[in-house]
């Protein structure tokens, strides 16, 4: 027991939690934006892969790191546009279209990677984002090492939490977005475009998801591997419900999952001899499901989620 307490109090544990949480923060915020407008985006898993591949590829081809981030975001927005057109004006099943986007984006990323590098056996590396050392802030006890000695992309993720919250709650655009996810007729009757708002939200959300993928190749690791997204996208879909579609709680949910994951790695080394390793690997997911069961009962679903809306059909 003492060991667990020691882990929980250590700076390195919380720094690792935030690092593991970073792609999830991007992903949950992205899924949240899409769903707030009424569109479920199951393309997230594939968009993660596309963001990871495109960001890395851009840097490997000679772009700067921030150029890579931009390319990843654009790639995400592109897949968001596909999903948006299929589900919003065409009104196709959001589940089917989303899974289709995931398959398409994943395969296209692998295909592009293989075509560009047909003969390479060990993945080529890039120079990733380095940990920051922000003067003064980094020297704050505990908070400094945990928050301010991360990479720039983690800072960006935290800034995005604030930005998404601000846009949703303090701007006219956010009010319109929340309205279109609750009752599209309210937006239409006030002369705004339901299609425009929804496609825009899905594109912006997908761009954020792609940044989560880009974090993997440009910050957490320095290369692109097959299967590296490894279900992170699906976790985000669950975390949105846990967060009850609120950006602050989305951050909390991502951190919670990150902490479970960081904890299981450390516990594995502590008591790994007695318990099979799979139990630890499973732990974050089991705990997340449990947290979800508790939180989902009170979750405030966007009322129009999954419901297509057609112009002139009332």
């Amino acid at each position: 027991m003492m060991d667990i307490l020691q882990i929980l109090l250590s700076e390195s544990f919380w720094a690792a939690s935030l690092r593991i949480a970073t792609p999830l923060i991007f992903g949950v915020l992205g899924a949240l934006l899409c769903e707030k407008s009424g569109v479920l985006n199951l393309g997230i898993e594939g968009i993660f892969a596309a963001g990871a591949m495109c960001g890395w590829m851009a840097v490997w081809l000679g772009a700067g790191l921030w150029g890579g981030v931009l390319v990843a975001a654009l790639a995400g927005a592109f897949f968001g546009l596909i999903h948006g057109i299929l589900t919003v004006p065409l009104g196709l099943s959001q589940h089917v279209s989303g899974l289709g986007v995931t398959l398409f984006a994943t395969s296209l990323s692998y295909f592009t990677y293989r075509t560009a590098l047909p003969t390479v056996t060990s993945p080529p590396r890039i120079e990733p984002f380095r940990a920051l050392d922000i003067p003064i802030l980094s020297d704050i006890p505990f908070l400094g090492p945990v928050v301010f000695q991360q990479t720039a992309m983690t800072m960006l993720a935290l800034a995005m939490v604030l930005l998404v919250w601000y846009v949703l709650n303090r701007t006219a655009l956010g009010v319109a977005l929340q309205a279109v996810g609750d009752n599209p007729d309210s937006v239409d009757a006030q002369g705004l475009s339901v299609y425009g708002l929804r496609i825009g939200a899905v594109m912006a959300g997908s761009a954020l998801m792609a940044l989560g993928g880009a974090f993997l190749t440009m910050s957490a690791f320095d290369a692109f591997f097959f299967g590296m997204v490894n279900g992170r996208g699906w976790i985000c879909i669950a975390l949105v419900i846990f967060a009850s579609w609120k950006p602050g709680k989305a951050l909390l949910g991502a951190l919670l999952f990150g902490a479970f994951d960081a904890l299981q790695v450390r516990l594995q080394t502590e008591v790994g001899a007695m318990v099979p390793g799979q139990v630890f690997l499973m732990a974050p997911y089991v705990l997340s499901i449990f947290a979800l069961v508790v939180a989902a009962r009170r979750a405030e679903y966007p009322r129009a989620l999954l419901t297509p809306w057609f112009k002139g059909q009332r």
Binding site: A172, V175, D182, N183, S186, V187, R303, G312
Partner: protein, 505 residues
């Protein structure tokens, strides 16, 4: 009244597939005028207004709207945004409000620049407050709309239009969801607004309020404007004839002595998280040869009461007796067996299985009848014969008895349900909103059948939100409010209205 023209619809036409919804309808509206648009369901009233507001693109015709200075300008068709900027506001029958947002956010939605970094909420609030002070339409501005009452939501809808400087206000069946008193208040507010120059078009099928509150009446039938009349020259009979095209005989209710009780509910209670699904200590008795009317504003426990009597929900306390026998295990099967015939509220959804044929829907509640099946196999000839006989005697018209029931019109679906219920010689008939949404002919037919069942010795429990329907059919009246029933002895709409609002105990 000044006769300054503010709106003219010029020969507007709209067709959906082969159905002509509006055929060259022209209409004029003047400053400060209240125009009532009347017509049966499907006459094309809402379609016409949706074209005016840009929800639908007309197939032909044009619209001219007066600018604030009074010049008539053609309106860009098919764009709500254009209608809004021309000063046209519309309050839809189904509210177009985002329930997760506050009233203030709903009101300002779409009128501020989308991509500005900040919003001028203080300025917006001051403007809304000014409108509320001027018109007497008040609503809490900061509560999420989902928590507001129906009357408050409607006021938010009107405020939305006025906030955008509407000079023409369209109200689609504004009183359908209000108590009589709330409706009167609404029309008082409208009166105040028209004195400031607002022009109002309201759609209704309640002749009483049309006669009391409009200046002019336009009547649509089958998509064509069949008449226009100054309200001072109109009366109920004249308008009804214009709407239907002929005189409809109103069924007369002969006096009858009630017989033995056929349904007795005592101390019935139903718990639920949602207030609208709760019942508290409900006691009622329906006798043979009697129609008991349950009046009330929608969402006060009517659905829960109907669900309990249909056997769809098991009460948490109290007892149910049908024809003197206590039902110990209420479920749909035992209730049908006990002699309860059910005419459900949502006839399309709960009354029929749309994908099954008309013939199958007619026998669906008596599958264990030996006439219908033997040894588990359906007797198709008997089912077809039964369907032919019933279709004829109940005048069910449609593409035939083998066609899917969903292809029938609302009135014919209702007749199919009546045929099914009455052929079982039900002791008690639960009629939940049996007339809502039917045209006058079908409505008269339903009323006649209910009175026939009453004459034949059945008891009828009539649940309706339309007070006129209850006053016309019921022998006794009870009011449901907040899950509780109270008997009213008076047949005065004022008294009943107050009870419906829960203001009198």
């Amino acid at each position: 009244m000044t006769l300054q023209k503010v709106l003219s619809l010029n020969a507007l036409s709209k067709r959906f597939g082969s159905v002509v919804a509006n055929d060259a309808v022209s209409l004029e509206l003047h400053r400060g005028e209240v125009l009532a648009l009347l017509g049966e369901n499907g006459a094309g009233k809402t379609t016409l207004m949706n074209m005016l507001f840009g929800h639908y693109m007309p197939d032909g015709g044009s619209i001219d709207v007066a600018t604030p200075s009074g010049d008539m300008q053609p309106l860009t068709l098919g764009h709500p945004q254009a209608a809004l900027s021309a000063g046209i506001g519309m309050v839809h029958q189904h509210f177009t409000l985002a329930e997760n947002l506050s009233a203030l956010d709903n009101i300002t939605l779409g009128s501020e620049p989308l991509f500005a970094l900040r919003r001028d909420r203080a300025g917006a609030r001051a403007k809304v407050q000014g409108i509320m002070d001027r018109t007497g339409l008040t609503a809490p501005l900061d509560t999420p709309v989902g928590k507001l009452s129906v009357g408050e939501r409607q006021r938010v809808e009107i405020l939305k239009a006025l906030y955008r400087d509407a000079r023409i206000l369209v109200l689609d069946e504004p009183t359908a969801v209000l108590t009589p008193q709330e409706a009167d208040t609404l029309f008082e507010n409208i009166g105040a607004m028209t004195r400031d120059g607002l022009a109002v078009i309201f759609i209704s099928h309640k002749l009483r309020e049309v006669l009391a509150f409009s200046h002019r009446i336009a009547v649509l039938r089958h998509g064509v404007k069949v008449g226009e009349i100054a309200t001072s020259d109109a009366d109920q009979r004249v308008i009804a004839r214009m709407m239907v095209g002929e005189d409809t005989p109103t069924p007369t209710r002969a006096a009858m002595t009630p017989g033995a009780p056929v349904l007795t509910l005592s101390g019935l209670g139903l718990r639920s998280a949602a207030a609208r699904d709760r019942l508290t200590d409900v006691n009622l008795t329906v006798h043979a040869h009697e129609i008991l009317g349950i009046a009330g504003v929608s969402g006060n426990g009517q659905s829960a009461l109907a669900a309990v009597i249909s056997g769809l929900r098991r009460p948490d306390s109290g007892s149910i007796q049908v024809d003197g026998v206590e039902i110990l295990n209420p479920n749909p099967k035992t209730m049908i067996k006990a002699g309860v015939g059910r005419i459900p509220e949502d006839r399309h959804h709960d009354g029929i299985v749309g994908a099954m044929s008309v013939a199958e829907n007619m026998i669906i509640e008596r599958l264990d009848d030996p006439l219908v099946q033997s040894n588990g196999l359906l007797n198709r000839d008997a089912i077809a014969t039964n369907a032919k006989t019933l279709s004829q005697s109940y005048d069910v018209r449609g593409p035939g008895i083998d066609a899917g029931a969903r292809l029938l019109s609302g009135g014919n679906i209702q007749k199919l349900i009546l045929a099914r219920v009455f052929e079982q010689n039900a002791r008690l008939i639960l009629a939940n909103q049996p007339i809502r949404g039917l045209d006058m002919g079908a409505a008269a037919e339903v009323s006649r059948r209910l009175l026939e069942a009453r004459a034949a010795g059945a008891g009828v429990l009539l649940i309706s939100e339309d007070l006129d329907e209850i006053l016309g059919l019921a022998d006794r009246i009870m009011v449901i409010h907040d899950g509780q029933l109270t008997e009213v002895s008076s047949r005065n709409r004022e008294d009943i209205g107050l009870k419906m609002a829960g203001e009198q105990t």
